[in-house]
Symmetry: C3
Subunit: 365 residues, 3 copies
C-alpha cells in the first residue's frame, strides 16, 4: 500500500511494526536524523489544523527532510478551479510525499488516484484521520504495554467524533478489549459501530454516566461536546458539567487509568488534572510526531507493498458503475470534476461510495 | 544582469546555457544538491500562486538551500504602508535571492531598483512571468530537440494571456519558427504582437478554427478561455466547446504534436487525453522546477554580468523625466510612493513606462 | 532565565555578552552555521509581522536549524478555543524554542508559564518587543562604539510606541546618557517614564520642536506618528510635516548623528536621506537578525540561569492573589481561561498585573 487513507489500510502487523519503530526512535532520537535527506514532504492544508501540520513538519525535519507547505484554501490553485487530481499530479513534481487536510470526505482518496507519490490523509472532513489514531495507539501501547485486554472508556461526542470512530475500529482488532461508551443520549455512537461490535462479539455498554463508568475502566478517551450540537442551549448547559473531567472526579478511577484526548481541549478536562501522571494527552501529542516519523520512513522506504486502494475499509472490493451516484454534499465526489466513481457492497448488501463510505442510490439518468 | 524581470533580459545564448544546465540536472539529479548550502531564497507572494511558489521552494531545497516565505498581502508589512522598495531593502538583509509575485505590473522592477540581492519576477500582474516561459522553452527543447524550425500553435485567450505573449517573444528569436494563432475573435492577440511578427518577417496566421489548425502544427500551447472575458454569456457558451481539447480531437494532429499548458487547467483539456504521450503539461511543471534550479544557480553564482535593468524589453535605453506620468492603474507606478519614474521610446516613437510598458502622456503639472 | 519576555529580563552584562557575540558573528558569518543542527524554532505569529518573522527564521536557518511556522489567527488552533498555555505545551513537543507574536499584552508570559521550551516574546500587543530593542542596542554599539555617554533623541509617537518605551528602559541603564524626547503634545511619553528618569537622576528634556533638537543629539530614534491617533484630522495635517525627516533637515544635525527607525516606515523619513551614511535603519534590520542569532544560541545553550519569570520588569517579586483582578481588555488575563493570576507591588506601592504591568483593583467577588 503506497498511501495511508484510513487506519484499516494497515494490518495489525503493520501497525505493530510502526509502533516498534516509534518506540525505537524514542529510545534513540538520533537514529534516523539523516534518513530523509534530499526528500521533501508537502503539507497541503486546505483547512486549518495547526497542530497536525506542525506535527508532520516537525517529524519530517527531524528525519533530515525538507518541507513545502500550502495553508488555507485561499493560498491554493484550487481557488482557480483545479481538481485535487491535478493538484496531486503537479505536487508530485515537487515533493516525495504529501500530507493532505481537506474539508471533504474522500479528498485524500481522490488525490491518491492520480498521485505519483504517497498520500497521507491528515483529515478529510469528518471522515477519517488515521495519523491521530496512530498517535492514540502508540500512547496506549507505551502506557499499558499492550493494545488488547483493556476496558476502554470513550466519553463525549461519540456521534460525530471521527477520532472516536477510528479508535473503535482500531481497538476492535485486538483481543480481549471491551468498550464503555459514555455520552449524552443526543451524541451516542452511530448504530453502525454498535452493530459491528455486536457482530464481532466484542463486549460494550452504553451509558450517559461518566462517574459510574470511571471505576471500572483501564483508559478514558475524552472528547469535546460542542455546544452547537444541541438545538436547546439549556439542554447543553444541563449536560455539560457532567462530562467535564477534573482532579476530584478522577479520584473515582483506578491509579493506572490513563486519560487521552486528541486535543485541542477547551474545558472538558480541567487543568487541575494536568499534573496527574495519568494525564497523558500531551505525551499523546509527542507520540503523534513520533508515529508520523515512523510512517514517513515506511512510505519513503520504497518497498513493494500490496496496494489496497481498491478495497473498502472493511476489505470489500471496489467497482466502477456510472449508473450510481453519491449524493453526500460533504463528499469529494459531489465537488470534483471528472472523478473516478467507485463503490463497494458492504457485508449487509448496502452499496456505498468508496470516497465517503455513505450509502448510494441509483442515479436517475 | 543581476535580476530576471522579463524573458527578454536574457539572450538566446544565456537561455541555451540555462537549458543545457537543466538538461544536465535532469540527467544527474544529485549534481547540485549541496550547491546552495547556506543560501536563502525569499518567496514573497503578495497574491496566491501555489504552484509557482512550491516550484521555486522545491528548486531551492533541492539545491541544498533554505527558504523563507511570505504569502498573502495580509501577511505582509505592505499592509502597514511600506513601499516595495523598502521591502526589498529589508529582505536583502535576510535572504540571498527573492522571487516575487505581485498583482501590479512593474512590481518586480520596483524592487530591483533598490534590492541588494537578485530579484526574480514570479509574475507581476498580467505583465510578465518569465520563469513560466523558461519552463515552456525547456519542455519544447526536451521534446523536440530544438527551439527553431517549428510550426507553433497557440490556442485560447491570446489577448490577455501573459504566458502567450512571452512565448511569442521568446520563440520569435529562433530561426524558422512560424505561428498559428487560434482564438475566438474576441480574444485575438494584441496588434502589438502581430505587427512585431510582421516586422521580423516571421510567418503567422490567425484563425478561430482549432480543428483546422491541428493537422499542420508541431506543438500546441493551450490556455484557458475565461467566461468573464465575454460580455454575453451565451456567446461564451457557443464558443467554449470549440476550444476544448480531447483525445478525439487530437486524432487530427500528428503523432509528434506535443501539447503544453501552463496549468492550472479547468476543463480546456479533457482528462481523457492525459495518458497520451503527446500530453506534456505535467512534465512541463516538472521542467519548471528544473529551470528554476538552473536560474537560481546562475543568479547566485555571483559572476559579473552586464546589467541591463536600464534597458526596455526591446533594448531601448531608459530615461528619467518628471514631466511624464504613467496613468495605468494596474502599474506599480501609480501605487508606489517615491518611485523612480523611468520611460523609454519604442521603435515607433511611442514613449512607454519602464514598469508596465504602456504608452504614457505628458503630465499636467 | 529560560525565556525572553522583556528587555529588562537581562542584566547589562548579559546584554553585552549578546552584543559581543553578535559582533563576532558579523566578523565571522560562518562561525555558528552548524550550531543549531537538529534544532527547531517555532514562529507563532498570531498577528502579521513579516519583518520580525523573517528575521527570526533567517537567524535560525543561518545557525543550521530548522523552522516550523504558524501565521495568522486563522491558521491556529486558537480559533478552536485552545488556551495559549496548551498551545505552548503542545508546540513544546514539536520545537526547541518558540518566538511568539500576539495582539494581547502578557501573551508571551502566559505561554512561558506552561512551556517546556524557551519562549521569546516577538511582540505582545503594545506591551513589549524586546528583540527590537536588541537590534537597537547592537546598532548603537556598532555605530557609536558605546552604549553610554550619549545624548539620545527620540522622535514621533512617544505615547504608544512600545519600542520607544523599551529603548528608554534599556538606555537608562547605561551611564552618562541623557534624553531629548521630541513629540507633539498629544503624543508625549507617559508620565511613568519621565518619573522614572527623574528618580534615576537621568537628564531629559521634552520638546515638540525637532529642528531645535537636531543640533545637540548624538543619535535620533524616529518613529511613526499615526493619523489615527488624532481626533481632529486637521490637527494631524498641521503637525505631520514637522516630524518628517529629510536630507535638508538633517543638515542641522552633526556629522555623526545616526538615525534609527524600527521600520516599516511610511513617510516619516524621506528616501532622499537613505544614502546618507548617518541613515542606519536598514543596517538596523540586519543587526536585528544577528542579535536574534545570538539570542537563539544563548537560549539553546541549555546552561543553567537564574529563572526570573517570578519577578516584575523592575525586579519586584510576583505574588498570587485570587481576590485581585486585572481589568485591562488588552491583557491576556482577561481572555485566557484558567490563567495563573499574578501581581506585584511597584516601588510606589501600586499593585500591578504581572502580565500587562497595569494597575489592578480589588475584585468584587
Amino acid at each position: 500500500m503506497k498511501h495511508l487513507l484510513n487506519i484499516t489500510d494497515y494490518s495489525t502487523e503493520e501497525l505493530q511494526a510502526l509502533i516498534d519503530k516509534a518506540v525505537f526512535i524514542i529510545s534513540d532520537p538520533w537514529a534516523y536524523n539523516h534518513s530523509c535527506e534530499g526528500k521533501k514532504l508537502a503539507t497541503l492544508f486546505f483547512e486549518p489544523s495547526t497542530r497536525t501540520r506542525l506535527s508532520f513538519e516537525a517529524a519530517m525535519l527531524e528525519l533530515g527532510g525538507r518541507v513545502i507547505s500550502v495553508t488555507g484554501a485561499g493560498g491554493s490553485s484550487v481557488t482557480k478551479g483545479e481538481t485535487l487530481a491535478d493538484t496531486a499530479r503537479t505536487v508530485s513534481c515537487y515533493a516525495d510525499v504529501i500530507a493532505v487536510r481537506h474539508p471533504l470526505a474522500g479528498s485524500a482518496r481522490a488525490m491518491a488516484n492520480s498521485s505519483a507519490i504517497p498520500i497521507i490523509n491528515a483529515g478529510d472532513g469528518g471522515h477519517y484521520h488515521p495519523t491521530q489514531t496512530l498517535a492514540d495507539l502508540l500512547t496506549v501501547y507505551r502506557e499499558k504495554g499492550k493494545l488488547g485486554g483493556l476496558r476502554i472508556g470513550i466519553c463525549g461526542d461519540l456521534l460525530y467524533g471521527r477520532t472516536v470512530h477510528s479508535l473503535i475500529d482500531a481497538m476492535s482488532r485486538y483481543e480481549g478489549n471491551s468498550f464503555v461508551l459514555i455520552s449524552p443520549k443526543e451524541l451516542m455512537v452511530p448504530p453502525y459501530y454498535t452493530e459491528k461490535l455486536g457482530e464481532l462479539g466484542i463486549p460494550f455498554v452504553q451509558t450517559d454516566d461518566l462517574d459510574e463508568a470511571l471505576p471500572e475502566i483501564d483508559m478514558l478517551y475524552m472528547t469535546r461536546i460542542q455546544r452547537e450540537r444541541f438545538e436547546d442551549p439549556a439542554q447543553y448547559e444541563k449536560l455539560a458539567g457532567r462530562y467535564i473531567l477534573d482532579a476530584a472526579r478522577m479520584k473515582r478511577a483506578s491509579d493506572d487509568c490513563i486519560v487521552l484526548h486528541p486535543l485541542p481541549r477547551v474545558d472538558e478536562i480541567s487543568t487541575d488534572f494536568d499534573s496527574d501522571p495519568r494525564a497523558v494527552y500531551f505525551t499523546q501529542a509527542f507520540n503523534g510526531k513520533i508515529m508520523r516519523k515512523a510512517l514517513i520512513l515506511k512510505l519513503l522506504a520504497g518497498k513493494e507493498h500490496p496496494d489496497n486502494t481498491d478495497l473498502s475499509p472493511e476489505g470489500e472490493k471496489l467497482f466502477r458503475d456510472d449508473t450510481l451516484s453519491c449524493t453526500n454534499s460533504r463528499c469529494v465526489c459531489t465537488h470534483e470534476r471528472g472523478i473516478r466513481k467507485e463503490f463497494y457492497t458492504d457485508r449487509h448488501g448496502t452499496v456505498r461510495c468508496a470516497y465517503c463510505d455513505q450509502p448510494v442510490t441509483a442515479a436517475k439518468e
